[in-house]
Amino acid sequence: MNEAVLNCVGSAIDQVVPPLCIRNLAVSFGAKRIFSGVDLEVAEGEAVALIGANGSGKSTILRCIVRLVEPIEGSILIRGQDVLSLQGERLKVARSGVGFVFQKHNLVPRLSALSNVLHGAQARARGPGVWFQSLASSQMRDEALTWLDAVGLLPQALQRVDSLSGGQSQRVAIARMLMQRPKLVLVDEPDASLDPKTGREVMELLHRLAKAEGVPILIVSHRLEHVKSYSDRIIGLAGGHVAFNLASAAADPALLRGFFEDAKS
């Protein structure tokens, strides 16, 4: 067991390696330090909310986990594997186990909802069979349709995603993430561009599906009611560091509200 793993599980050999363990993470954009010394863990089946002001680095942490952003310091372990040391095919394999739901959905416009969901299978298959629904095998197609059904969009399967509403697009993005069969899910403000009702429905759906699949989830959100309702633990980022790390049940709503208000100011 290497040093980074020991930092996460302690010295006892029988301790369980968490699905996600971040230690001493630091990111700079040019001369600007975004955050440093960030420690964070997500346990098996746990939903963790990450909160903080705009620019505090919440989304950047999620992007570091899949190496869309390269940190300058620290370690990120996914089930004991240091993703920062991976390159090429091994990095792709590590990424394939991490589902990512983006704030702006990041679907491919001009393609159907079904083709977009099918793209989730690129984590485990290659080639034209996972590019467009018309070229997919019956098995892949059926699985993609199953996930579209799970998010309530089976009737829109062949509709172009650029003709869907914001809430429907986010559901397609969730179905694509589920098609990936992830072992860890990262969610970056899925409710930010949606009206309160649709935002709540999307969060409810994500929470329900993640719990049903037993997948740990790390959520970034600016909505206090969602943070409280759909997470087991809340981590607050402020001033480039972790300001608090509390069980959601124990988190004082007044403290959180104050934190959100500070974050907005």
Binding site: L68, R95, V108, H119, R126, P128, W131
Partner: protein, 269 residues
């Protein structure tokens, strides 16, 4: 708006035109000077144009009515011209796609590869198709194959540049999403980039075909086959009425291709 707020607006002081900066003024002087110098340099003058009008009028008189005696041969050559254009454009577009992918920032696997692909596209684009035709006539001999190759190379340069730009301009979001889930570079290219760039690809391809049809006529003048050869022979033999038939046929072909292209563009984009 209150009277008080109206009165503080300095309307009289808002100029209709902005005074150009010293740099802009110098740039304008250079541009105008360059135009005057160039027109003078090539010896184009109103007197010369006036002197040429009777000769032009004489040629036009001898062109009409057009001579239809060689119409079947002309139509056959026109068909060969269209085939040259279509074959050259399609081959050029097919080869332009991978070269554009290698030249596009964020798609190319390595900066050195990107620079090499860009240099090749620039070479293909900057050398005129007539020069390529001369080279291919020497390489493969007189006739349509030289024309097809010249059009192909020209279209690789033309479409390669626009394909690469279209790929670079696609939204980063879908590309990031697929990269984050472990997709390969090829998966990202075909799933996230190509669908987004498709309207631009279609527009560029149709424009390439139009350009190839217009260009293929000229290529015949240097022996690269098609109706251009007929046109050169007609002028060489002072058979202006036959030349008029050829020019009218070329005009109709270009018109049909452009109108068809516009229709396809409207339907697909």
């Amino acid at each position: 708006m209150t009277d008080a707020s109206r009165s503080i607006l300095p309307r009289a002081t808002i100029p209709r035109f902005e005074r150009p900066s010293a740099g802009a003024f110098i740039a304008w002087v250079i541009v105008v000077g360059l135009a005057v110098w160039s027109v003078g340099g090539v010896g184009l003058s109103p007197e010369r144009l006036a002197r040429g009008l009777p000769a032009l009028s004489g040629i036009l008189n001898r062109m009409f009515p057009p001579d239809l005696e060689r119409l079947p041969q002309i139509l056959w050559s026109l068909l060969v011209t269209f085939q040259m254009a279509a074959a050259g454009a399609v081959l050029g577009l097919i080869l332009a796609f991978p070269l554009a992918a290698l030249a596009a920032e964020g798609v190319s696997p390595h900066p050195v590869v990107r620079q090499a692909a860009r240099a090749l596209i620039a070479l293909f684009r900057t050398v005129p198709d007539l020069v390529w035709a001369l080279l291919f006539v020497i390489a493969v001999g007189l006739g349509p194959p030289a024309g097809v190759l010249a059009i192909m190379v020209d279209k690789i340069g033309f479409a390669g540049r626009f394909f690469a730009e279209a790929m670079e301009e696609t939204d980063q979001g879908p590309r990031e999403a697929l990269t984050a889930l472990g997709a390969s570079r090829l998966d990202v290219l075909f799933c996230a980039i190509v669908p987004q760039a498709m309207p631009s690809f279609i527009a560029t391809s149709l424009f390439s075909l139009e350009k190839a049809v217009r260009g293929s006529v000229i290529l015949g003048l240097v022996g690269a086959g098609g109706v251009g050869v007929e046109l050169k022979v007609a002028f060489d033999l002072f058979a202006y009425s036959t030349a008029a038939t050829i020019i009218i046929c070329i005009f109709l072909l270009v018109l049909v291709v452009e109108q068809s292209s516009n229709w396809v563009r409207r339907k697909l984009i």
